[in-house]
Amino acid sequence: MSNFSVGFRSSGHIQILDLKGELDAHTASELEAAIQKCQANNQVHIIINGASLMYISSAGLGVFMAYIEDIRELGGDIKIAALQPKVYNVFDLLGFPMLFDIIDLEADAIGKFDPSNA
């Protein structure tokens, strides 16, 4: 039984992934499948909404690491928004703010993809 799920939403050309639950070595493959689905559909403007993400381990962080370069090479990005403070602390611990665009509000992340609509 997994207590992790990924919800899909879109805002124009931007694909938003709503992460819910706990992301660990057991559930990381579900996030990987979700990002692969975006790639297969040529959706490379991706926002990860972490408002309902309660936990992340290095296995979850590893998924972001595995795809960020590919997505950027295709002209896109993975922006991470609305993280709970305790989850943000884990990203921060590993220096992720240096590598990823981590933003408080989803609306601001959308604005960064679409400056004209911000």
């Binding site: 706990e22 660990d24 070595a25 057991h26 960020i68 590919d70 611990l93 590993l94 590598l99």
Partner: protein, 139 residues
């Protein structure tokens, strides 16, 4: 406050990591560690067990892992014990984030995280078992 010891034995499968995290959270909270510190210990133990499952047992799910938590007035000691392959200290390197992203590597952060979150992380081999012993002090 007395010394309390609790042991959880799980099969070597990632599907039991959630149970491990609940075990750590329950006993660390009972021992009156602050919420943020409980989070840190929970993650460190998750990482240690994930490493055992993926590296020591190489994904073989029919082995077992023992997790023993001892709470004392000033600290929590957790020992993760397995009978798989030894942790290769010589091969371990601190990960470099930018290099990792470029090489598209996904793992290797577990030990780094454990060392950042705990006050002490030690590996030893005794009686045919591998043991990872981690300590967190209260203040």
């Amino acid at each position: 406050m007395a010394v309390n010891t609790h042991t959880l034995t799980i099969p070597s499968s990632t599907s039991f990591l959630e149970e491990v995290r609940e075990f750590v959270t329950s006993h660390a909270t009972q021992a009156k560690f602050a919420e943020g510190v409980v989070e840190q210990m929970k993650m460190a133990v998750d990482e240690a067990c994930t490493n055992v499952i993926e590296h020591s047992y190489e994904g073989n799910a029919d082995q077992v892992i023992d997790i023993t938590i001892t709470t004392m007035p000033d600290k929590l000691v957790v020992v993760i014990r397995d009978k798989g392959l030894k942790f290769d200290r010589a091969a371990y390197q601190e990960p470099d984030l930018l290099q990792y992203a470029k090489s598209k590597k996904t793992g290797g952060f577990g030990v780094h995280i454990m060392r950042k979150l705990m006050d002490s992380v030690e590996y030893r081999n005794t009686g045919g078992f591998n043991e990872c012993c981690m300590i967190k002090f209260k203040s």
